[in-house]
Amino acid sequence: MKPAIMRRLVAAELMKVRTTASWWYYLAGFGLLAAGALTNNWFSHHYQLHPQADLPDRAQALAAAAQARTPSGTAAIAASMITSGDFLTALFAILLGVHIAANEFAQRTATVTFLTVPRRGRVVAAKVAAAACAGAVFWLAATLLNGIGTGVFLRTEHLSGALTGVTAARSAGMALLVYVLSAVAGVGLGALIRSQLAAVITAIAAYAGGFALIELVSHLVYDLARQGWVLGLPVAAPPLADIVMTSSGSAFPHAPPPWAGAAVMAGYALALAAAGTAAIRARDVS
């Protein structure tokens, strides 16, 4: 495939995204959720640093607060805040990916699209690339908002240096991968399921319900087998894979390393994109 052809197809797909109002609605909803997640994280870390007087295990809380003020503790706070709520806001990247693929059929624009470019694999590839770009824009918006919020928080709490450290940078970099892979998985899902509404419901149900289901199953299996690694299995759920990827330490007991979360998300993205491409190629456009 010639790079010039792909460049113009990706540019056309990006034009499609930004020439309807839907893009702004997604961005507005995303911004609202991101701001809410940052606020929640702000208060959470504030109370971590300033334990309330009436806590039953106040001594333990004070020890944790002291640990949080060490360089490694501050770095963990910065990493957590700069990726505030990414496991939630990444859902918007998935939904935008679904929109990029399924909206062609919902609004009956697929006919013109495939008349202009009859090689459907190229069209899906361009949609994947455009969705990845849109996911990166989401990441940029979230990271800017979270970065400003984190900077203000650290200054308010008289903590310094952590925002520019390696830990925060690594978490932010992983968050970029989360958004990009989420958007790609969304395109695959939107291509696979013809109805946009059904694809959106499936995405939300799989994202939220899948997380709850796999948590439940892993704990049931753990109760039977008493093997610690079983508690790490929930990484197969995308929201927990996101958390594992961006977390500076162990995201939960027996959590696998960040690369395992990245491998899970990449697996979903590749599998859904491949299945979606096959479905689009085989489908009659009517």
Binding site: R8, A12, W24, L27, T109, T116, P118, L145
Partner: protein
Amino acid sequence: MVMLAGLVVIGALVWLVRRRQGGRTEDTWPGGAPREGVAALAAGPALAESRAAGRIVVRGLTKDYDQIRAVDGLSFTAEPGRITGFLGPNGAGKTTALRMLLGLAQPTAGTATIGGTRYADLADPIGRVGAVLEASGAHPGRSGRDHLRIICRAAGLPLGRADEVLRATGLSLAARRPAGGYSLGMRQRLGLAAALLGRPQVLVLDEPANGLDPAGIRWLRDLLRAFAAKGGTILISSHILAEMQQLADDVVIIASGRAVAQGTVGAVTGSLAKGGTRTLVRTPEPGMLAAELGEAAEFAPAGPGGEDVYVTGPDATAIGEAARRAGVAIHQLVTQQPDLEAAFLELTSLTKTEGAEQ
């Protein structure tokens, strides 16, 4: 404070969206069709360098949906420099056949090629073929101009080409309004504008006159004639049979997915048992005239009262001579030419009857 800043940003975004939507209502549709655009649109440089390159050939095209055969062994050819009407009743398989021709649906059997190549294999599809399968095909929330610019971008055409075809199709004033607010006629024009972006050699149009006003229909007729005169190939489906009789050089009539007639308009209408030339005769004594003409003439009532009859068989001269010999007064004698509508109705009803008998 950060939360407040976030809310301010979101509020500003929503305000911007509303402003974008609200700011596009001042343009109005100009009404009359711009006839000056016809020559510019039809005079594409890609037109007919060789006849074979623009020939549409359909052979044994078949499409099954579950237990239903929508298209059944359809074969026809549409030649460059000619307008081929593609006619059939609702559900006859016209749109399915056109979608298979354009690579949008996979045939169960058979082939459909343009210049010997499947549409999906064309190197420059919209530079070879312009198609309108549904009015505009544009996203209702996207402006007509953006719709065309996206096609230009994907096809590697200069973005300025979008403005050229918008001017030529009379849509310049509405170009920045969302296509969802366009009338059916405007959406048809937008679809035609998209079809003509690549200066194609072949046009495939599904009901392009739907929703056009009389001026628009005339504009379309002029455009298609000019396009064919330059050597372009046109395959056009339509329900407006009177318009097709004026416009088409050849017709393909399909019913129940099969071709029931094809050829020039004259050949198809002239080959009919009931749809051929007939003469309207007004006489107070049709019985005496029938007796004089004998068994070679077939009489059919043409209205209440019994004075108006259609006579099939002898021409007007023979009828006049017979009336003179029999001493029968003739008050009106009108020769009626073969009629595409009659041909269409007879051919498609024959197929329905055959289907019912089977």
